[in-house]
């Protein structure tokens, strides 16, 4: 059995009494003092996450833009230096190999055109795919995942902590932009992004600065109530914010439109890209959806969990992709994927119409009994981005 990889902050997690679990080949902290406490601390004050398991890729060479345009569903033509965009990396059939954030790094990272942050669990699929597709382009796909650590500092107090560490609020990058900066005497890339629905930052740097930055941020515990947060609360926070998790809401057999992320797909994109036919066809409604992701709230005290079967009018027609109690709402929430080929066409057309689908009752099977849930709009909470 191969041993799980450890981030450069592993010893810090142990010191803090974290409970460690395997996650995507990594030994990661799932919680420190408790998921609910960490969740509320992030929403109300600030939470610090070790997300060093995430992958980083540098894209270099004169064909960088053309190459990326040929592999993602989004249009990067107007992505100016320092700006970031949430992107989908489809396969030939329009399913997703990964969901990623692309940063235009021109003038920010020496000799590099783009920085890409990718899912830890997809590094071994995503990078070989990109390297294969790079053939024929004057471009280099450089895997930096083993060289860089990453922290996320999220919540309303994040900006005050970053200010204390040397970057005034007016100098801080705006939402979905990044900059190169010196934070507490450590050179970092500072991004205004996150996975919680809160204002906050992600900080990318060489491993040797990890403990120094981690401990410096946590030293603001008294002043700004910042706490370390594990993967447990990371999951409830992203779920409330309506954000998808690869392997749950996203996979190789489902297009981003079917995963209810059509908002992020441009109406038109001139360049051809892998998987374009089905994705653009679904975007323009010329091609039908095969399945669709819905957000739901349980009407009952039962908690829906990933893989639980979903029924509509007593017909089994899908599965829960993620489900958990929402600490903010005090209700049990989740996402489910409904398979349209299991349902009659009148129901499918109702589900295809967002307004008509809202409020519809579905049933979730929990321990062999059906319980009602209502389809709702995502996100479950209001996002607090600093736009």
């Amino acid at each position: 059995m191969s041993e799980d990889k450890k981030t450069s902050l592993y010893d810090e997690h142990i010191k803090l009494g974290a409970k460690i679990v395997p996650f995507g080949g990594w030994a990661m902290p799932v919680q420190y003092e408790g998921i609910i406490k960490e969740h509320h601390a992030t929403r109300n004050f600030a939470g610090l996450f070790d997300v060093s398991h995430m992958g980083e890729v540098f894209i270099k060479g004169k064909d960088s833009l053309n190459f990326l345009q040929s592999i993602v569903a989004q249009d990067l033509t107007n992505l100016e230096p320092s700006k970031a965009i949430y992107c989908h990396l489809p396969n030939e059939d329009g399913g997703l190999i990964d969901d990623i954030i692309i940063y235009n790094a021109k003038g920010i990272i020496e000799e590099i055109e783009y920085l890409i942050v990718i899912n830890a669990s997809r590094i071994d699929f995503n990078i070989p795919h990109m390297q294969k597709m790079a053939q024929g382009f004057d471009v280099e796909v450089i895997n930096k995942s083993d060289d860089l650590s990453m922290l996320a500092l999220q919540g309303p107090n994040a900006k005050f902590i970053i200010e204390k560490m040397g970057i005034s609020q007016s100098e801080q990058p705006k939402f979905f932009t990044f900059k190169s900066a010196i934070l507490n005497a450590c050179p970092v890339f500072l991004t205004r992004t996150g996975y919680t629905g809160e204002d906050g930052f992600e900080i990318i740097f060489e491993h040797k600065y990890a403990s120094k930055l981690w401990n410096e941020i946590l030293s603001y515990k008294e002043e700004f109530s910042v706490v370390p947060v594990g993967l447990g609360a990371r999951d409830t926070l992203r779920l409330e914010a309506g954000l998808p998790l690869y392997g749950h809401e996203l996979n190789e057999n489902t297009t981003p439109i079917e995963s209810s992320l059509g908002f992020f797909i441009p109406k038109e994109k001139e360049q051809n890209y892998i998987g374009k036919k089905l994705i653009q066809g679904q975007k323009t409604k010329e091609l039908p959806l095969r399945r669709k992701l819905f957000a739901f709230i349980m009407e009952d005290r039962m908690i829906a969990r990933a893989e639980y079967p979903v029924y509509i009018n007593d017909i089994e027609c899908g599965v829960v992709t993620s489900g958990a109690p929402s600490p903010t709402l005090g209700k049990n929430i989740g996402f489910c994927m409904i398979e349209f080929d299991k349902l009659e066409s009148s129901l499918v057309s109702k589900l295809n119409n967002i307004q008509e689908s809202l409020g519809m009752t579905i049933q979730i099977m929990v321990r062999n009994k059906l319980y009602n849930a209502k389809i709702v709009k995502k996100p479950f909470i209001e996002k607090k981005y600093n736009k």
């Binding site: 919680q31 998921i35 609910i36 447990g232 999951d235 409830t236 005290r301 958990a324």
Partner: protein
């Protein structure tokens, strides 16, 4: 936290104790600590019977649902109703927050293989 006297524990982390001639079943402090914040506990109906090792209840933390097994077989004669509305009580004290009381079927035979608390602690640590 007071550990009930004469408590016996199973490998699947349930405890059973005879308290005032009643057989009480709960989940061990070690198991509760592993689960983290408990948000929901589903208890069986009074009058239902379960054999040893059969699932009789479910406990849910924020992250996952876990089944709870009968350390000895028997009929459910009382459930801890307080846990239905305040499942977090089990995080505070796993021994006072008992789950069910039972009328055992064959305690002598079923309790074979259960461990005394000290031995259980040695096993899980």
């Amino acid at each position: 936290m007071t550990i009930p006297e004469g408590i016996l524990c199973s490998k699947t982390h349930e405890w059973v104790a005879e308290i005032n001639n009643e057989f009480t079943i709960g989940l061990t402090d070690w198991a509760v600590e592993q689960l983290g914040d408990v948000v929901f506990i589903e208890l069986p109906e009074i009058g239902s019977t379960f054999s040893k090792n059969e699932t009789f209840a479910t406990i849910e933390s924020v992250k996952a649902a876990s089944e709870i097994y009968m350390p000895v077989g028997g009929e459910i004669i009382e459930i801890n109703e307080e846990l239905i509305n305040s499942p977090e009580l089990i995080n505070e004290d796993a021994f006072s927050a008992w789950l069910v009381k039972i009328k055992p079927e064959n305690f002598q035979e079923d309790s074979q293989g259960l461990m005394e608390y000290e031995d259980y602690k040695d096993e899980v640590q």
